[in-house]
Structure formats: structure tokens, C-alpha cells
């Protein structure tokens, strides 16, 4: 096992002017499960492949433990690219399927058996070790494939969208298994996904990347509760954070026809470049229904509601100039899940009727405020 360190790593593809990964500094602790997450084209797979040795590093260095592996060939890095379409061999027993790579590497029979037995124990495959794949269920076969990866006991596991080729049922099941396995084995793991839910549920820490630049690294809850910039705010969380840009007048954000008082310290940080505007964000679960006369709330025209039993969701458009924006214009002002409408989570018993206009209040501690000019967070 080992730590991993990216030290000012940059990767520019031939023919491109912009780097796909730019000046990346990232440390993964020994035994840590680090998830790289971001949208398509953000550079997360490139980042993983730099560690795997599949991409050249144009600037900077990559370390596994204390060893500089920047120019070391993939097979000499003691890493394992996991679960990329491992096939099971029908004539081999489960034990042989799991251990054959060790046999190729010249390990003796007793050592192979010991390692295979340990992996089988973790994967709950001990009773099946002498069976052939044909006698197993699909899920058990999937675990044998995992076993093939883990018996090698590499320093680092690399997983690039490992669940993307699995069918929907196996995907959820395997997600849990990978997370559990990683914790049992304690092998340093770098896991790449586009799916923020996968990232939030699996990682010890998450690194969010966009356009080749590392946006924020932290524990899932920290990223959720305290996004450093507007990209992370919008990317992490499902349903996603409601975000809109509004004028600031006398310390208040003018949201539609209403005004909402902002924390003074955040307003004080606004610069000329922000042109008197602020990005105002809040999570659906942090909104509360307020009375019609509440002076510190904004109006929402209810377009749709959902009663999920435990939760109720209101989807609506912010009321502006006493007229409800049509959905087209509404998308320009807000960002959330359902057709870009503002999303509010409430107790199902509080759900209003479609067509109502409701008042929404956000506590200052639950506001996420960002500079329109820089996208950076303004409040603590």
C-alpha cells in the first residue's frame, strides 16, 4: 500500500492549446478511497491515466509512495486497473480464475492458495472455490472477477467508471461491494466517475474537477455543505442546488418581486467586477414555506408537486414583476432539477396546490453565496 501524489501535473494533448489537466496538486493518503468526479471532458479520466502510466505527464511529477513514477511503464507501477471487463474462464475453478495472474507472475502454489483463500473470504466465495463458473450465479461470477483483481494486492487500485458497463441491478450491488471491499482491504484507491451520487456514497474524499482544473477536495459532507465555488455547488447534490444571479440592493438580493436579506460579510466581499449582482444558492431541503407577509422571503409560482411519501417536492418559477415567468425565461434565472425550475423539499403535508403562489424563506446559514465575476464562495 502507498500514498499517491500529483505534483503540479499538467497534460496537454497533442494539437490542443488548452490543457486537459492543468497544474494538478492532489494527495491521496495511504489506504484512502479518493473519488474523482466531474462532467464529461473535465479531465478526470486523464488524471487517472496519468497515474496508470497511460498518459504522458507534460509538466509535473507523479509519486506512488516515495517513488517518482512519472516515466515508469504501467506494468512496473504496481497498480491494478480494476474490473475492466474481466472474463471468467469456464474450465478453471473459481480458485484458478482468481489466482492465475499470480501463477503467471511465478508465485508458488502455497502462496497463491493463501492469497486466493483470503480474497474468497472477503468476497464470501469460500464455499465455491473449487466450483466452475458455470455453477455460479451472475452476482457470484462478478465477485470472482473482483477476486481476480484483489489477489494481486497492488499498491493502488485504479477504477475508471467501473460500473458503467454493468446492468442496472448489478451496478447498485457492485457499488456497495466495491466500497466495502476497499475498506476491508485498505488499498489506496482512485475511482473515477461522472456520477456525483456514486462519488458521495463511496469516497472517503472527493475531488471535483472541471475543465481540467481541480475545483475542490474534501469529504462528501464538506463538499455538500460548503462548496467553494459555484461549479461545485451546482454539481454536487441531487436534486441539485437552486442557483440564480440577482441584483443586490441595500444588502438585499432582489429575487423576483421580493427582497431577501443577505449576510453582511458576504455582501462586503462583492467587487466592482460583480456589477452589483450576486449568485444566490440554496438546497431544496433548506427552504421553508413562509407566511404571505414574511418580508424576508421570495414568491414562487407552483408549477408541479410530487408526493414521495417521506418527502414532498415543489417545482416552481420565481415570480417577477407580478407576472410569472414562462418556463423559457425562468431557466435563465434559476437552475435546478426539473426543467430548470426552482425545487423545494417540504413535508408532504405542506404541499401546496399547483397554480398557487407560495413564499419561500431561506435562513442565512443555509445560503450559498458566490461572486458572479469569479464564481468563488463569499460567505463562510
Amino acid at each position: 500500500m502507498a500514498s499517491v501524489k500529483y505534483d503540479h501535473c499538467t497534460r496537454i494533448y497533442p494539437g490542443n492549446t488548452e490543457p486537459s489537466v492543468s497544474d494538478l496538486n492532489l494527495s491521496i493518503k495511504d489506504g484512502e478511497f479518493m473519488v474523482l468526479v466531474g462532467p464529461s471532458g473535465c479531465g478526470k479520466s486523464t488524471t487517472l491515466r496519468m497515474l496508470a502510466g497511460l498518459e504522458e505527464v507534460n509538466k509535473g511529477r507523479v509519486f506512488i509512495g516515495d517513488k517518482d513514477v512519472t516515466t515508469v511503464q504501467p506494468k512496473d507501477r504496481d497498480i491494478a486497473m480494476v474490473f475492466q471487463n474481466y472474463a471468467l474462464y469456464p474450465h478453471m475453478t473459481v480458485a484458478e480464475n482468481m489466482g492465475f495472474a499470480l501463477k503467471i507472475a511465478g508465485e508458488d502454489k502455497a502462496t497463491i492458495r493463501k492469497k486466493v483463500e483470503r480474497a474468497a473470504e472477503i468476497l464470501d466465495l469460500t464455499p465455491f472455490l473449487d466450483r466452475k463458473p458455470r455453477a455460479l450465479s451472475g452476482g457470484q461470477r462478478q465477485r470472482v472477477a473482483m477476486g481476480r483483481a484483489i489477489v494481486r494486492q497492488p499498491k493502488v487500485f485504479l477504477m475508471d467508471e467501473p460500473l458503467s458497463n454493468l446492468d442496472a441491478k448489478l451496478r447498485v450491488q457492485t457499488r456497495t461491494q466495491i466500497a466495502t471491499l476497499q475498506r476491508q482491504l485498505g488499498v489506496t484507491t482512485l475511482y473515477v466517475t461522472h456520477d456525483q451520487t456514486e462519488a458521495l456514497t463511496m469516497g472517503d474524499r472527493i475531488a471535483v474537477i472541471n475543465l481540467g482544473v481541480l475545483q475542490q477536495v474534501g469529504a462528501p459532507t464538506h463538499l455538500y455543505e460548503h462548496p467553494d465555488n459555484v461549479f461545485v455547488a451546482g454539481f454536487i447534490g441531487s436534486p441539485s442546488m437552486n442557483l440564480g444571479t440577482y441584483p443586490v440592493e441595500n444588502g438585499k438580493a432582489k429575487i423576483g418581486t421580493d427582497s431577501v436579506t443577505l449576510p453582511a460579510d458576504a455582501v462586503a466581499k462583492l467587487k466592482d467586477a460583480d456589477k452589483g449582482r450576486i449568485i444566490f444558492g440554496f438546497r431544496p431541503e433548506h427552504a421553508t414555506l413562509a407566511s404571505a407577509s414574511d418580508p424576508d422571503a421570495f414568491s414562487l409560482y407552483v408549477r408541479n408537486t410530487e408526493d414521495l411519501g417521506s418527502d414532498g417536492y415543489i417545482y416552481g418559477d420565481i415570480v417577477d414583476n407580478d407576472a410569472v415567468k414562462d418556463s423559457g425565461t425562468a431557466t435563465a434565472a434559476t437552475m435546478s432539477d426539473q426543467n430548470k425550475m426552482t425545487t423545494i423539499r417540504v413535508n408532504p403535508s405542506e404541499l401546496p396546490n399547483v397554480g398557487d403562489t407560495v413564499k419561500i424563506h431561506i435562513e442565512q446559514e443555509h445560503m450559498h453565496l458566490f461572486s458572479p465575476a469569479t464564481g468563488l464562495r463569499l460567505n463562510d
Binding site: Q73, N85, H91, D167, L170, H194, F231, D337
Partner: protein, 473 residues
């Protein structure tokens, strides 16, 4: 609105394949998620009448064709669609769309691979529950998975030929910037090409095309190929299907050696003195022998003009293939073409027609030699025996017959003898085929399919008798 502006790098993103999943994870459904959608490169109406509302493992036997399948993690079935046989693979939508697109690109680049036919998405069963997407590719006629070849007591030499074919395929893929990520014998199909084999890519799930591969990507592919080949051969050995004189590790190492040798010959920079310009011609000749043509040669002076450095730009092989196509209209593989052209030359010499136009002689050769031979392929073999390969095998058989009787043997006599005594040996018996397909299903990781997969082809059509023309003589 706060939004992220599009970036050109997105076009190169490897995770685009997963974008659809991102949406479904967010419980945002595409409008057509529950509507059957077929993207197809064919207009065959039969495609639109298939039971898309059933899991592939439950498709009725009368639609299926019993051909040998390779090991796969996913359910794969051969289906008769009109006059064609298509391979259907049940995989998640994003993976199906990604693979379809990659196969289309490889096809445009003239890489030997299966032809992509379509992607079927938005499938639901009769109760409205979603089913996985299906990738459709055309079955590569006359081809066999390696396991079907090994079911016939192959010799060490055959195993080596398969590895050589795979090495050539891998080099060709790397030359065009394709990183495979999952190189194995299971992910190719083999078609006989005279005395050698041609390898065709059948699984591009993990592959991507880059402007240029790094050494790391190439080396990873080669290392993975070695591991997988050794594993696959060890498995055959466990099933007593590998000759005892075959050393699995040695065969795996052969792939690495062959690949490195080919890569160096094809792409290496060679330096020599200005008075050794004949070495350019030698290099071109070496490349031609390996089956590659040179489209361009970069020649530079180095070391103050005291040395010349050359680097060839190679293109697809096919000199003989193109020549035969021009002369006869026959589109066959390179080694087959070479053999046929040799026979054409012999015909020309033996009929004293050296002065005649090549095209005229070729027309006569077709009418008098090639076509009468091909017409002798028995009907029951016509869907499995490739004509050019049959002709090659008859030529070889005729040579052995002539050597045995110490005089020339007429082509019709040799053909009749070959059909009677050799052709039946190429058939894969029903038991072997059943075993191969049961083995192929043993690796499927989908829960439902794992239980039902083995029996699903029991009543399928056997018209094709599950055979290529793999004569190991």
C-alpha cells in the same frame, strides 16, 4: 443562469459514454427512455419485427442461429435477420452507443472488425420494466472464435499463427490510435487467410481512438494481451483442449515479441550513410513482406548531412488483394489473394500466354479454373466454407496428392478428393458446439441470464452447422 460553457475537450472525453447514465441516476429520463428506438445502418424490415420486449436470453429458438460464441460477460446471441445473421449483445445503453460509434470509426479506417449494424434502446418488457440496450453487429461469415478452433486438436503451429494474427491486428489498431483496453483472444474472431489467419476485432467496449497513442497505452495493451492470452490458454489446458507441447507462457510472450518486432519495423527510424540509399528500397520491401504498404517516406539528413534518417508512413496491407480485385472482381484476404494470383500466374505460364493482357488471362482463369472448382463446394458447406479459402485448400491438397503419386493431378480430381476426404474433417460436431456455447454462457454476469443462458439455443436453427472452414491440414 449559472452554467458551464461547452468546451472542445468534451469531444475527446472518454466518459461521454456514461452521460446517459448520469441522467438516469438523477432520475431524469430522456423522452425516449421508454420508447423503442433503433439506430440502424440497415433498412432490413425484419429487424423491426424482432421481440425487443423480451430479454435476449428468452428469445425464441426459431430466431436464433447456432454458431459458436466466444466468452463474454454479456448475453450474446446470433439471430437470423432476413438473409443475414446478426450478433446481438445485451449491454447498458451508454456502452452500446459507445461501442457502435467506435466500430463505425474503425470500419471507416478499414480496420478488420465486425460491422456495426445498430443499437436498440428504450426496450421495455411486457410489464413496462426497462430492458438493457442491444448492440447489433453483422456476423463475420467464415470466422470462428479461438475456442472453436481449439476444439479440433490444433497443433502448436496453429496457436502461434493465431497469436501472429492478433499481433498484426494490435499493431494496426495502435497505428491508427486505437487504445483497446481489453485485448484478448476472446475479443477477436479468426478467419483463415490461406496458410495464416486474419484477426478481426469484435469487442470495442473499452476502446477509444486518440490522435496518437502514448507508449504507456501501447505497452499496457500489450501487457494485458499477454496476461489474457496466457489465461485463455491455461483455461484450454484445464479443459484438455490444448496440445501438451504448448507452453502457455511462451505463447503469451510470443505476442509481445511479435508485436514489438512489427512495431519497430513499421515505425522505427533507420539511419544510414548517404551512399546507402538502397536501404530505403530494402525497408520498403521488408514492410511489403509483412503485408504493409508504404504511403510516404520521411527522409531527413542528420548529423550535418553525414547520415540519412528515414521513417516510413505505413498504410493498410493489401497489394495482392487490390490486384486480384482489379483483375477478377474477387474480394478476398491478402494471403488468399497472393495464393490465387500465384495460381493465375501458373495458369498464364502453362497456357503460354505471357504476351496476353493480364486482364484477359484472368478472365479465362476465372472461367476455366476458379469457378469450376468453387462450384464443387457441396451445398451444405456453402454458408461456412469461404470460396477463396476452399480454393487455397484444394491447391494445397492437390500438391500433396501430386507428391504422393509423383505426377500432376488435374484440378477437378483434386477437388473431388478434397471434398470427399478432407472437407468433412472441418465440421464442428454438435456436441463440441454445445460445449463451446455453454462455456461462453458460463462467464455471463447478468443474474437472470446466468440461470437460463445454457438452454436458450437448444432449439435454434442448425442450418449453418456451426463451422468455419478451419482445416488444420
Amino acid at each position: 443562469m449559472v452554467s458551464v460553457s461547452p468546451d472542445p475537450r468534451i469531444a475527446q472525453a472518454t466518459s461521454i459514454k456514461a452521460e446517459v447514465d448520469a441522467e438516469s441516476n438523477d432520475q431524469k429520463k430522456r423522452p425516449d427512455d421508454k420508447q423503442l428506438h433503433i439506430t440502424a445502418a440497415t433498412t432490413d424490415p425484419h429487424l423491426f419485427t424482432l421481440p425487443w420486449d423480451k430479454p435476449l436470453s428468452q428469445w425464441p429458438g426459431h430466431l436464433l442461429v447456432n454458431l459458436p460464441r466466444g466468452i463474454s460477460r454479456h448475453i450474446v446471441r446470433f439471430v437470423q435477420v432476413g438473409h443475414e445473421i446478426d450478433a446481438m449483445k445485451e449491454i447498458p445503453r451508454a456502452a452500446a452507443e459507445h461501442e457502435y460509434e467506435i466500430l463505425r470509426q474503425l470500419q471507416k479506417l478499414d480496420i478488420p472488425c465486425v460491422a456495426p449494424i445498430g443499437v436498440v434502446t428504450g426496450r421495455t418488457d411486457q410489464y413496462g420494466s426497462p430492458l438493457e440496450a442491444i448492440l447489433i453487429t453483422r456476423h463475420l461469415q467464415y470466422s470462428l472464435p479461438y475456442r472453436a478452433l481449439f476444439a479440433r486438436n490444433v497443433q502448436l503451429e496453429t496457436a502461434q499463427k493465431l497469436i501472429d494474427a492478433l499481433a498484426i491486428l494490435l499493431v494496426r489498431l495502435h497505428l491508427i490510435g486505437f487504445y483497446w483496453g481489453d485485448v484478448s483472444l476472446s475479443n477477436v474472431l479468426f478467419r483463415r487467410d490461406a496458410d495464416a489467419f486474419g484477426a478481426f476485432l469484435v469487442d470495442a467496449e473499452t476502446g477509444s481512438i486518440y490522435p496518437k497513442l502514448t507508449d504507456g497505452q501501447r505497452n499496457y495493451d500489450v501487457d494485458l494481451a499477454r496476461t489474457n492470452i496466457i489465461g485463455e490458454l491455461m483455461d484450454l489446458s484445464s479443459g484438455n483442449l490444448l496440445p501438451s507441447n504448448v507452453d502457455e507462457v511462451e505463447i503469451g510472450n510470443r505476442l509481445v515479441e511479435r508485436y514489438n518486432m512489427l512495431w519497430k519495423t513499421l515505425t522505427g527510424v533507420e539511419r544510414f550513410k548517404p551512399n546507402e540509399m538502397w536501404r530505403i528500397e530494402k525497408r520498403v520491401s521488408e514492410l511489403n513482406k509483412l503485408g504493409f504498404d508504404v504511403s510516404e517516406m520521411n527522409v531527413n539528413t542528420v548529423d550535418g548531412g553525414h547520415q540519412i534518417a528515414i521513417r516510413p508512413m505505413v498504410v493498410d496491407a493489401g497489394y495482392s488483394r487490390r490486384k486480384l480485385l482489379r483483375l477478377t472482381g474477387l474480394d478476398v484476404q491478402e494471403n488468399q489473394a497472393r495464393r490465387l494470383l500465384n495460381d493465375l500466374e501458373q495458369f498464364r505460364a502453362s497456357t503460354w500466354r505471357d504476351a496476353d493482357d493480364e486482364e484477359v488471362v484472368a478472365t479465362d482463369w476465372m472461367r476455366e479454373v476458379y469457378e469450376p472448382t468453387i462450384r464443387m463446394i457441396p451445398p451444405e458447406y456453402q454458408s461456412t466454407v469461404e470460396p477463396a479459402q476452399f480454393f487455397h485448400d484444394v491447391l494445397t491438397h492437390r500438391w500433396f496428392m501430386a507428391e504422393h503419386v509423383s505426377h500432376d493431378v488435374p484440378m477437378p480430381v483434386a477437388t473431388a478428393d478434397y471434398v470427399k476426404n478432407e472437407l468433412p474433417k472441418t465440421k464442428l460436431d454438435t456436441k463440441a458446439l454445445e460445449d463451446i456455447n455453454a462455456e461462453a454462457d458460463a462467464g455471463v454476469m447478468d443474474d437472470e441470464s446466468a440461470d437460463s443462458g445454457n438452454s436458450s439455443t437448444s432449439d435454434s436453427k442448425d442450418a449453418h452447422q456451426a463451422d468455419g472452414e478451419g482445416n488444420e491440414s
